[in-house]
C-alpha cells in the first residue's frame, strides 16, 4: 500500500515536472539564488567583506549546474533529458548524410508500406467479424451428400466446396422444420440476398436486398439506429409484411441521415415497402463483413420483391429447390459434435417428411462451420494472402538487412568517434542507447513513410481482386490495428537493423582504434559480418525472384491457353430485361427485336445471347440424360449447358466439327435441337455418331420433349482457364422459356467503341432494358485471373526491389573492400600482378559471396515453394527454368554490381597506392 502511494506520488510529480518544465527550471534557479544570497548575508554578518562572502558562499554550495542536474535526476527527468539529447544528436547525424538516410528510409518505407497494405487487407478479409453481438457464437450451416441428394436444384452463394459442403442452401419448408426440431441446441435464422430493381425517392436503381426471417434481428442481437427492426410478426403469410429496415449507407446516401425517413416508402419490383427502421453503421447484414445490402425485408415478401420467373413467383412453399442461407447462434454449452449430430437428425427427419427420397438418393448430412464472418469466408483468398504476407515479410527482412549493412559501413567510419567518446568516459550502455536511438529514428522515418504508403495502397489490392471476389468495391478500413501494426513493425525493424551495428560499435576497443593503423587491425571482423549480410541478402532475393518467376510463368501459361474460341473483338454485355407479366410469345418477340437491333449497330459483325458468359467463374449445370440411358434414371448426370442465340457459334468462333450449328430454320415451334461439344460426345455418346441422337434435361417421363443433337462443336474452356475444357451442350433460346441474360457481340472495330451506339439501340427497343457490366471478353478473362495477375505483378515488384537492394548491398561491400585494400592491391601490382588478375580477384570475391547466398536461397526456395503449389499452373514448384533463370539473374546482378569496384581496383596506380598510407 505504501509502495503504491509512493509510486503514485512519483508519477504525479514526474508528470507535473514534465508539463511545467519551464516553471521548474525557474524555481530551481530561484531556490539556489536565494540560498546563495542568504548564505552571503550570514557570512557578511560574521565579518567577511561582501565580495569575499559571495565567493565563499559559492564555494560552499559548489557547482550549481551539477546540483541542478542532480535535482532533475531526483525528479526522474534524467532519462527523458538524455533521450531528448540523443534524439537531437541522431537527427543531426541523419541530416548530415542525406544519401544514406534517404536510401535507408525509402527502402524501409516501401517495405513497411507493403506490409501495412497487405496486413489491413488480410485483417479485413480474413479476420474481421460481423458487427453483431458475440459473433463467435454464430454458425453457418450447410450440407454435403455422398450420393445423389433428393434435391431438384440448389443455389450457393460462395465456393462451398472449399469447406466440405455441397451447398449451404436449403429450402424454406425444410428450414422451418430444421429450426423447429433443433430449438434445444441452436437458434436458427435464415436470409437470402437478391439484387432487384427499385425506386428510392423517385430514383430508379438496382438495390441489394436481404430477405430475412422474423427472428433474424433478435438472434443476431442488432439494435436499430432509428426506428425498429424486423419482428417475427412481420414475417407472416407469403406476400405480407411490407416493411423494410434500410442500411446506414442508404440512409445517409438517399435520406441525408434524417430521422423523418421512418414511414417513407421504397418501391422494390412489385412491392411498396414502408421504412420502419435504420441499421446501425456497424451492421452489414449476415452475409458479408465489409458490404451491406441496402434494404432488409421480411422473407414473407419474397414473392413480391424478388419474384421468380415463370408461373410460380414464390419460393417459400417449394421444397426441392434449395436456395435459402441458414445461420444460427449456438446455445451455450453445446459441443460442436453434439450440435452437428442433433442438426443431422433434424435435417434427416425434415427431408423425409417434406421430400420423396428414392432408393438411389441419399439424405444430405449437415456441415457446421464458423459463421462469425458470414457467408463470404473468402477461403480461396487465404492461401494467396498468406503468400503475399510472407513475401512482404521477406521484403521487410531484406530491407532491414540492407539498412543494417549500410549502418555497419557507417559504424566503421564512425569508429574513431566512438573511441573518442569512450576515452572521454562515456559508458558503453549510453553509447548503445545513442546508436539505437539513431536506428529507431531512422525506422520511424521509414514507418511514417510506410504508414502513408499503406494508407494510399490499402484499397489497391482489393480493387485488383474485386473481380475474383465477385464484389464491386471494398473499402478497407484503416484503423488503430493497422496503426499499431506499423508502430510494431517500425520498432522491430529499428531493433533488427540497429542492434547488431550498435553492439559492435559500442564494443569497440578504445586503444586499438585510436591508433593510426586501426583500420587494418579491425578489418577482418567487419568484413566477415558485412559479407554474411550481403550473402543473406542474396539468399532472400533468390527466394523472392524464384517466387516472382513461378507466378509470372503461371500467368504466362494461363494466357497462352487456347480457350477454343476467339477472345479478341468480342464484347460481353449483361442485359437486365424488365420483369413483366408477359407471355412466352411476347418475350420471344422482344428478344427477336433485341437480336435485330444489335445486329444493326454499325461495327457489329454478329451477336448472340448466351446464358453463362465464358471464363467468368460462373457455371450452370443441368441434369442431362440421353435417350439410350433413359431406361436407367441413375445414369442421369449433370452437365454444363449454355442457352444460346442462333448465331452463337459464328459469334464466338467455335468450329462445328460435324453436323450443323443453329440456323434460322430452328424456331420456337420446330423440332427441339441441341449442339454438343466433342468432350460431351465422347463422354455420353461413346463409339457412336451422336448426330440425330436425342437427350433431355431432368427426369424423362411420358411427355418428355426430346432434344435432337444436330451438330458437334469444338471444345471450349468454360468457367476458368485452369480446368480442361469440360463437356457442354448448347440449346436455343428460341426454344426455351428463359429471358436473355448475357449477350456476346463480335465486332469489326474496337469492341468498346460500339457501346454508345449499343445503348442507343437498346433504348429504341425498350427504355426499360438495362445494359449492365459492359466488358470485352479479354477484360472478363483478366478479371477472373486477377489473383494470378496480382500475385505475378506484386511478386515481380518485390523481386525487382530485392534485386535492387542486393545490387546496392554487393556494390557497397565491394567498393568498401576495394577502398580498404588499395594498399594491398598496389603491392600486388608493384610485384607484377596483371590488371586483369586484380579485376578477376575482386569479381571472384563477389561471386563467391553471391554463390554462397544463392545456394542458401535455392535451398530455401526448394523447401518453401511447394507451399504455393496449388496456385501454380503448368509448372511444378521446382521449375528448373525458373530456378536456373533466378540463379543466372542474380549472378548477373552481382557481376554488374561489382564491375565498377573491380575496375577501380584494376586501375590503382601502384606508386600512389603505396604512398597512400
Amino acid at each position: 500500500m505504501r509502495f503504491f502511494t509512493r509510486k503514485t506520488a512519483e508519477l504525479k510529480s514526474w508528470l507535473g515536472a514534465m508539463t511545467h518544465r519551464r516553471k521548474l527550471e525557474a524555481e530551481m534557479e530561484a531556490e539556489l539564488a536565494l540560498h546563495l544570497e542568504s548564505r552571503t548575508e550570514d557570512l557578511m554578518r560574521s565579518g567577511l567583506a561582501p565580495a569575499e562572502a559571495a565567493r565563499q558562499a559559492r564555494v560552499e554550495l559548489g557547482p550549481a549546474l551539477k546540483h541542478k542536474e542532480e535535482m532533475r535526476a531526483s525528479l526522474g527527468l534524467r532519462w527523458f533529458d538524455e533521450f531528448g539529447a540523443d534524439l537531437r544528436y541522431a537527427a543531426r547525424m541523419l541530416r548530415k548524410s542525406p544519401g544514406f538516410t534517404l536510401t535507408a528510409a525509402l527502402s524501409l518505407a516501401l517495405a513497411i508500406g507493403a506490409n501495412t497494405a497487405i496486413f489491413s487487407v488480410a485483417k479485413e478479409i480474413l479476420y474481421d467479424r460481423l458487427g453483431v453481438a458475440e459473433p463467435r457464437q454464430l454458425r453457418l450451416l450447410g450440407w454435403t451428400s455422398k450420393g445423389k441428394p433428393p434435391v431438384g436444384s440448389w443455389w450457393s452463394a460462395f465456393n462451398a466446396n472449399s469447406v466440405g459442403m455441397t451447398s449451404e442452401c436449403i429450402s424454406y419448408p425444410v428450414f422451418r422444420e430444421l429450426a423447429a426440431r433443433s430449438r434445444q441446441v441452436i437458434d436458427l435464422f435464415a436470409f437470402k440476398d437478391f439484387t432487384q430493381n427499385g425506386t428510392v425517392r423517385g430514383n430508379p436503381q438496382r438495390l441489394d436486398l436481404e430477405l430475412v426471417t422474423g427472428n433474424y434481428y433478435g438472434v443476431l442481437g442488432v439494435r436499430p439506429q432509428v426506428g425498429r427492426t424486423i419482428q417475427p410478426s412481420d414475417d407472416g403469410a407469403p406476400g405480407t409484411g411490407a416493411v423494410a429496415v434500410i442500411s446506414y449507407g442508404l440512409w445517409q446516401r438517399e435520406f441525408g441521415g434524417s430521422p423523418t425517413v421512418l414511414g417513407q416508402t421504397i418501391q422494390v419490383e412489385r412491392a411498396t415497402l414502408t421504412i420502419v427502421g435504420v441499421n446501425p453503421r456497424s451492421f452489414s447484414g449476415a452475409a458479408a463483413v465489409d458490404q451491406s445490402p441496402d434494404i432488409f425485408a421480411p422473407l414473407s415478401m419474397q414473392p413480391l420483391v424478388a419474384p421468380m420467373g415463370g408461373k410460380e413467383p414464390s419460393l417459400l412453399s417449394v421444397t426441392d429447390n434449395w436456395w435459402l442461407e441458414v445461420m444460427g447462434r449456438a446455445k451455450p454449452g453445446v459441443s460442436a459434435e453434439a450440435l452437428r449430430a442433433s442438426l443431422d437428425v433434424a435435417l434427416a427427419s425434415a427431408v423425409r417428411g417434406l421430400l420423396t427420397v428414392t432408393a438411389d438418393e441419399t439424405i444430405p448430412q449437415i456441415v457446421v462451420v464458423d459463421g462469425s464472418r458470414g457467408l463470404h469466408q473468402e477461403y480461396f483468398l487465404k492461401a494467396p494472402l498468406a503468400v503475399l504476407q510472407a513475401m512482404v515479410g521477406l521484403v521487410l527482412l531484406l530491407s532491414c538487412v540492407n539498412v543494417a549493412n549500410l549502418m555497419l559501413a557507417r559504424g566503421a567510419q564512425r569508429q574513431r568517434e566512438m573511441s573518442v567518446r569512450l576515452a572521454l568516459g562515456a559508458a558503453r550502455n549510453r553509447l548503445l542507447r545513442l546508436l539505437l536511438t539513431e536506428s529507431l529514428l531512422l525506422a520511424a522515418l521509414g514507418g511514417a513513410g510506410g504508414l502513408a504508403l499503406g494508407y494510399i495502397g490499402r484499397n489497391g489490392l482489393p480493387a485488383l481482386l474485386a473481380g475474383t471476389m465477385g464484389r464491386q468495391s471494398i473499402d478497407i478500413r484503416f484503423d488503430w490495428a493497422a496503426f499499431a501494426f506499423v508502430a510494431l513493425l517500425t520498432i522491430l525493424a529499428g531493433l533488427a537493423f540497429g542492434l547488431a551495428p550498435a553492439w559492435s560499435a559500442a564494443r569497440s576497443e578504445v586503444s586499438s582504434s585510436l591508433k593510426e593503423s586501426a583500420q587494418t587491425a579491425t578489418r577482418r571482423r567487419k568484413g566477415l559480418s558485412g559479407k554474411m549480410l550481403v550473402g543473406f541478402q542474396v539468399a532472400l532475393s533468390t527466394l523472392l525472384v524464384v517466387a516472382a518467376g513461378l507466378f509470372a510463368r503461371t500467368l504466362i501459361g494461363l494466357n497462352s491457353i487456347d480457350p477454343g474460341f476467339k477472345t479478341d473483338h468480342l464484347l460481353l454485355v449483361d442485359l437486365a430485361l424488365p420483369n413483366r407479366d408477359e407471355s412466352d410469345g411476347e418475350r420471344l418477340a422482344m428478344q427477336h427485336r433485341i437480336d435485330e437491333a444489335i445486329a444493326a449497330v454499325p461495327g457489329v459483325r454478329s451477336g448472340a445471347a448466351m446464358s453463362t458468359p465464358y471464363l467468368a467463374g460462373m457455371m450452370t449445370t443441368y441434369s442431362m440424360v440421353t435417350e439410350a440411358e433413359s431406361a436407367d434414371p441413375s445414369k442421369a448426370n449433370s452437365e454444363r449447358g449454355v442457352m444460346a442465340g442462333d448465331r452463337f457459334f459464328e459469334t464466338l468462333g467455335i468450329p462445328i466439327m460435324a453436323g450443323r450449328g443453329f440456323g434460322p430454320q430452328d424456331t420456337a415451334t420446330s423440332l427441339k435441337v441441341g449442339v454438343i461439344n466433342q468432350a460431351l460426345a465422347r463422354e455420353r455418346f461413346p463409339n457412336e455418331n451422336p448426330i440425330g441422337k436425342r437427350f433431355t434435361l431432368g427426369a424423362p417421363g411420358k411427355d418428355t420433349q426430346w432434344i435432337q443433337v444436330i451438330g458437334v462443336c469444338g471444345d471450349t474452356s468454360y468457367q476458368s482457364l485452369r480446368e480442361t475444357p469440360p463437356p457442354q451442350f448448347f440449346l436455343l433460346y428460341a426454344q426455351r422459356p428463359q429471358p436473355y441474360s448475357t449477350y456476346a457481340i463480335r465486332t469489326q472495330v474496337k469492341p468498346e467503341a460500339i457501346t454508345p451506339a449499343l445503348r442507343k439501340a437498346m433504348l429504341k427497343v425498350d427504355p426499360a432494358i438495362a445494359l449492365l457490366n459492359v466488358r470485352t471478353q479479354r477484360q472478363q478473362i483478366a478479371e477472373t485471373m486477377s489473383m494470378e495477375f496480382v500475385l505475378a505483378w506484386l511478386t515481380a515488384g518485390f523481386g525487382f526491389l530485392a534485386l535492387a537492394l542486393a545490387c546496392i548491398g554487393i556494390y557497397g561491400l565491394m567498393a568498401y573492400s576495394v577502398a580498404r585494400r588499395t594498399n594491398e592491391i598496389g603491392i600486388r601490382l608493384a610485384l607484377g600482378a596483371q590488371r586483369a588478375q586484380v579485376r578477376g580477384m575482386i569479381l571472384r570475391e563477389s561471386t563467391w559471396i553471391t554463390a554462397a547466398g544463392l545456394i542458401a536461397g535455392v535451398a530455401g526456395a526448394l523447401a518453401l515453394m511447394r507451399l504455393v503449389k496449388s496456385m501454380l499452373y503448368g509448372i511444378t514448384p521446382y521449375d528448373p527454368v525458373t530456378l536456373t533463370g533466378a540463379v543466372l539473374l542474380l549472378l548477373g546482378v552481382a557481376l554488374v554490381a561489382s564491375w565498377v569496384p573491380a575496375r577501380r581496383a584494376a586501375s590503382v596506380q601502384p606508386m600512389e597506392a603505396l604512398r597512400h598510407e
Binding site: 502511494t5 509512493r6 506520488a9 531556490e31 536565494l34 535535482m71 531526483s74 568516459g425
Partner: protein, 118 residues
C-alpha cells in the same frame, strides 16, 4: 578519466541526510537554506552538511511525496520555497527514526564489547 572521488568523510551523513531533513521540517515549514541552518543549529554546529547535496535530496523527498512545498515570503521578504512534512513523510520519519535507533543500539553494543565477553 574517472570522475573525481567524493570526499568520504561525509558518507555516513549522506545515508542519513533524508532522515535529518525530515526531522528538520517536522518542526515547522522551512526553506532550503533554513533546513541547512536548523540541522546545524540543532547539532550544535557539529555537523557540516554538504550544501550541494541538500537540494537534490529535498527534490527527491518531494518527488517521493514525503514532503510538500509551496512558495511564500522569507524572513527577509524574499520569495522562498517552503517545505513541510506530509502525512506520508511523518510515517516515514517515525519508521526511519525507529530504524536508526535500533541500528545505533546494535552498533553501540558492538562497540562496547570487551575481550572478556568473547
Amino acid at each position: 578519466m574517472t570522475p573525481p572521488k567524493q570526499d568520504k568523510t561525509n558518507d555516513v551523513l549522506q545515508g542519513t541526510l533524508d532522515l535529518l531533513i525530515l526531522k528538520a521540517v517536522s518542526l515547522g515549514p522551512l526553506h532550503g537554506y533554513g533546513v541547512l541552518l536548523r540541522i546545524q543549529q540543532i547539532s550544535g554546529e557539529e555537523l557540516v552538511i554538504q550544501q550541494g547535496s541538500l537540494y537534490p535530496a529535498l527534490y527527491r523527498l518531494e518527488h517521493q511525496g514525503a514532503i510538500a512545498s509551496e512558495w511564500g515570503e522569507s524572513e527577509n521578504n524574499r520569495r522562498a520555497k517552503y517545505y513541510r512534512l506530509t502525512k506520508a513523510g511523518r510515517a516515514r520519519l517515525n519508521e526511519e527514526t525507529e530504524k536508526w535507533r535500533r541500528m545505533a543500539g546494535i552498533i553501540n553494543v558492538i562497540l562496547r564489547a570487551t575481550p572478556e565477553e568473547m
